[in-house]
Amino acid sequence: MKLTYKVLHFFILAACLILQIAFVENLKLFSVNFDLILVTVVAISLMDGVIFGAFCGFAAGILLDLMTGGGIVGISAFAYAASAFIAGKLIEAGLKQRILSFTFIIFLVTEINLILVSVIHYLFNFNIAISELGLELLVKPVCNIILMLVIFPLIRIGMHREYVIGFNNKEKT
């Protein structure tokens, strides 16, 4: 059963990847900066385990890098895999599976992801606009937290009570 969910979640991630490239990237032109892949990868990491989450992050990142032409391939893969690992470890470290904890995780992981990607690009001689990065550090976590309210319940659909993660704490009898 767990494997079925993992396969299902992988397909949801694939759909999110296409959606990110075909639509969400378009919204960046209007200063709306959602990261559909990051939120989905974190949700998978929290529900299916750190290893599967990191693998999904790696696979989605590689595909994203390959599909978005000009950049260096592998940077997004590394950033998403690391984000999934950090998110999973935070829960393992004792954070309770509640909506507030998830909000905190999404905020933290988004910030780490942005800084990580910028630092790697800087190391590869790309110029980083500090003002742009600063704005993104403020806007992106908020957008991702909003996105979390949609993605987390979607990933959770059909899962047993033990996977339920804070959105409905009262179980129906």
């Binding site: 075909a22 032109l29 209007f30 595909l63 032409g69 950049g71 391939v73 893969a77 590394f78």
Partner: protein, 267 residues
């Protein structure tokens, strides 16, 4: 303890794998390019369908934004219209004179370029890149380096051409660099994208006199990009103390938010 160790090993493998891929990609091997081309081709049909499905939402956001800026836009257009009317009569006389001189000198008129109409099927607007995906590729004769325009002016240049799709680097991409001229003074410079997503005309000496509103066109020194394509007009000029060049910001003629159909200049 065992589970943690297993997790760390998996993470280690992923990190090493990423570092290898990053290094290979950074060196710019043919293998990376080949995989990119194959991936673009593989996902093109699904990407195109998704893009078309969600396009009305982007259009709606665009229309709302346009509606809110309507009053200001009308004022600007009215001013521009009155200026264009003034220029119109003058230009007709110049055209007649120009044609007569061409006939006298035996110089042929510029030929139209061969173009390929393409549809935008994807955007990629990260902090470090501004790219679009088009639904035409090498099967339609699209090659890397070809210029992309729309009815307003220069959009960008093709950077990766797959079988049935291609990726275009927009002129506001931080890695974009295109040879250009100031139309009025014919001074040469480079149109380059900034990290702040603005477009700059670089390498114009401080002593050159430039005016706000001057039109920028492509120069004749581009490999596959034809000359005299409209790029934008000068928005502001400044000069920093240590630099021998002016800092000129350009307002592009093309609205990248409204890109839907473009023309690829094939030659």
């Amino acid at each position: 303890m065992g589970k943690n160790f297993k997790n760390l090993i998996v993470l280690g493998i992923i990190i090493v794998l990423c570092l290898v891929i990053i290094t290979v990609s950074f060196k710019g091997s043919d293998l990376t390019k080949g995989v990119k081309v194959k991936t673009l081709d593989f996902f093109k049909p699904v990407q195109e369908k998704f893009f078309l499905f969600f396009h009305p939402v982007a259009n709606f956001i665009n229309s709302t934004r346009d509606y809110l800026n309507l009053r200001e836009k009308i004022k600007i257009l009215e001013k521009e219209n009155s200026n264009l009317r003034k220029d119109y009569s003058e230009n007709i006389n110049l055209k007649i004179e120009n044609n007569a001189l061409r006939e006298l000198l035996g110089v042929k008129l510029r030929k139209d370029y061969e173009t390929e109409l393409a549809k935008v099927i994807g955007f990629s607007m990260g902090e470090l890149q501004s790219e679009i995906t088009l639904n035409k590729g090498t099967n339609d004769g699209v090659l890397e380096g070809m210029g992309v325009v729309n009815e307003d002016g220069l959009v960008g240049a093709v950077i990766l051409s797959a079988g049935n799709s291609c990726r275009v680097k927009l002129i506001n991409d931080p890695r974009s660099s295109i040879g250009a001229r100031i139309l009025s003074s014919r001074v040469l410079g480079m149109v380059e994208g900034g990290n702040d997503k603005k477009i700059y005309l670089n390498y114009i000496p401080k002593e050159e006199i430039v005016f706000r509103g001057d039109v920028i066109i492509t120069s004749e020194y581009g490999k596959l990009l034809p000359s005299e394509i409209l790029v934008g007009r000068i928005k502001s000029t400044a000069g920093s103390a240590g630099s021998p060049y002016k800092e000129i910001e350009i307002e592009p003629f093309v609205d990248f938010k409204e890109l839907e159909y473009v023309l690829i200049i094939k030659g």
